[in-house]
Symmetry: C2
Subunit: 353 residues, 2 copies
């Protein structure tokens, strides 16, 4: 009997629902009869907030957590919308999910697919994965401010880093590297952020002894951005903190053809909570409804989802279909649904398994 | 009578002294009889530390502070040198100078000079300035750690942001923008670093009312890295915090032909303390002594220095000479001294003033 996968789907705002619509169709077609995908839609994001005032009610968080995995489009309203001034959808919804579901690995592969143009003259063979820590760093929300609005205001942000949190994500990164080209680059700013930097550095050195086959490199975050434009092919697995990972993965998306192609997984490797898969791009309200959104990043996110759930063959079919589609695209502009259909059509046949 | 400029010179480590040697010669030639440059050399950096154990003794800091300006090459020993393990030359020397001399503006122009190749296919007309805050943010050294070396270790870093500190650098950035193409982009991460982000955002909004002619834009730091590779010509003046500025300016250097060309000024606009000018690049011990170091960034830093001291005509002569030299360079590799001589030879004649 086919395995049932209970999937929580958060289309979100702007182009989110559009790209997720295509991604779900590709997902269904790719698994064939290997699994039954049972979806539950959750209406969350800026639109929901504007309609009801809710960001992420506890009972909905609990309901989401009862699923096997989560597929998320994008959340966020029109920038500068005054009605959203007091809501922080990013913190209250997206980051809340990542923290509540202990998504300590934020996995962000970067591939310059054949046929895709890079803004770089000579990118070389770009194929690396950023393992971004997802539950610590300056994202913890432990800041504060005093005398707000006065000339004596002080606003602090605290980056929290624990041996517990750093060790688990570093170990995951080493495991990834061992299964790839066996090169791990720690990115931090150890010469300035000396306390956090020292913890990250010592942890990498310690875990490295368990992975003698993995070559370890270190780069300051500023230098890492240079190499991302001058020699991105040098990277295999990058492990870094939550904020540096945020910055590096947008840059990585840009050099590999745009974040319209960048997939990501917010992963809880222990399985204690469902993992969440989402394109790296945002809700892009300016192009919502125009059919201009590229669903490829969302589609590739479903491949990461299948991989995570142990359905590697179906994941590979999606990656193969996207690869074929990207190579065939050429310069012609296609709509969201045209791209979705083309990827479905390019899926390797399920008959000859 | 010609004005005397007392210049503290810190050649530093690696290629630092080599590029500063050329820069000083260009500086002298460019000012002609408009000023007399009196230099005092300070031997500081990793080499000094290894020889004497000193990083920046108080009396030397005081002596440096008694000068009109500081020219610094680069500091830092060979990465991984075990003898430097317990010294943090970056914090103890470079950052100590920036903080002690209240260099709250870290000015980093980015220009894609005619004749210089960018790693980008289509960079457009790149000409912007990053105004990086220099005395606050996560650079303050207010972190700490407990239970170091145990599985229960917690290492925190604190980013401190004050209305006092943010307002003065934002005002400086608006003034810069008003004297350029009148566009200011605030870069931060307001959706995650909500306390600091809110202070930065409110400050920019408030100061903007005094500069109605300056168009104001906002970008999250992750999105800013995307635009730096897809549309760097969109930037005029960028104002941002210490850490984001560190990251963005290395990336900016990379897209505009390499940090071998990137100049910077650590400026105290009040004049209470001498400002310090330095190339953005590091000490590059791997190429020290080979003659491979490009002194252009150090030379351009002396132009920023002259501008700061009100010797704008001499600064313009240096910029003109560098522009001419870069346009003429072609692909041929030249040594540090060859480039220095060529720039001196390209200085507009002083006779016809
Ligand atoms: C929307 C924002 C909170 C988020 C982040 O900073 O993590 C986004 O930029 C991302 O990278 O997923
Ligand atoms: C050496 C280091 C402390 C310094 C910094 O982070 O500011 C450098 O990267 C720079 O940009 O001048």
């Amino acid at each position: 009997m086919a395995r049932t996968i209970r999937l929580a789907v958060i289309g979100g705002d702007g182009i989110g629902p559009e790209v997720i619509g295509e991604a779900l169709q590709v997902l269904d077609a790719a698994v064939g009869d290997e699994a039954v995908i049972e979806t539950t839609a959750f209406s969350l994001g800026a639109d929901r907030y504007l309609a009801t005032g809710d960001v992420l009610p506890d009972d909905e968080l609990a309901a989401i957590a009862a699923h096997d995995a989560i597929l998320l489009g994008a959340v966020g309203g029109v920038p500068g919308d005054p009605r959203l001034k007091d809501a922080n959808i990013e913190r209250g919804l997206l980051l809340k999910l990542r923290f509540a579901l202990d998504h300590y690995v934020n996995l962000r592969p970067t591939v310059l697919w054949p046929g895709v143009e890079s803004p770089l003259k000579d990118p070389g063979a770009v194929d690396f994965v950023v393992v971004r820590e997802g539950t610590e760093g300056p994202y913890v929300g432990n800041g504060g401010a005093i005398r707000v609005g006065t000339p004596a205001e002080v606003a602090n942000e605290v980056s929290v880093n624990t041996a517990y949190g750093v060790e688990r994500v570093v170990r995951y990164a080493f495991e990834k590297a061992a299964g790839r080209r066996s090169k791990l680059t720690l990115v931090h700013k150890t010469n300035v952020l000396t306390f956090a930097g020292s913890l990250w550095k010592r942890t990498v050195d310690a875990v490295a002894t368990e992975f003698p086959g993995v070559a370890v490199d270190y780069l300051h975050v500023d230098a890492a951005t240079i190499f991302l434009v001058t020699d991105p092919a040098r990277f295999d697995v990058v492990v870094t903190d939550n904020l540096f990972g945020d910055i590096l993965t947008d840059l990585a998306g840009a050099i590999s053809g745009g974040i319209g192609l960048a997939a990501s997984g917010n992963i809880n490797p222990s399985g204690a909570f469902p993992s969440m898969f989402e394109p790296v791009h945002g809700s892009a309200p300016d192009i919502a409804g125009t059919g201009k959104a590229d669903p490829t990043a969302a589609i590739l996110s479903t491949a990461l989802l299948l991989d995570h759930l142990g359905l590697g063959a179906a994941a590979d079919r999606i990656t193969a279909a996207v690869t074929a589609d990207l190579a065939a695209r050429g310069g012609a502009a296609r709509t969201t649904t045209e791209i979705g259909s083309a990827v479905r059509a390019a899926l390797p046949s399920l008959e000859h398994r």
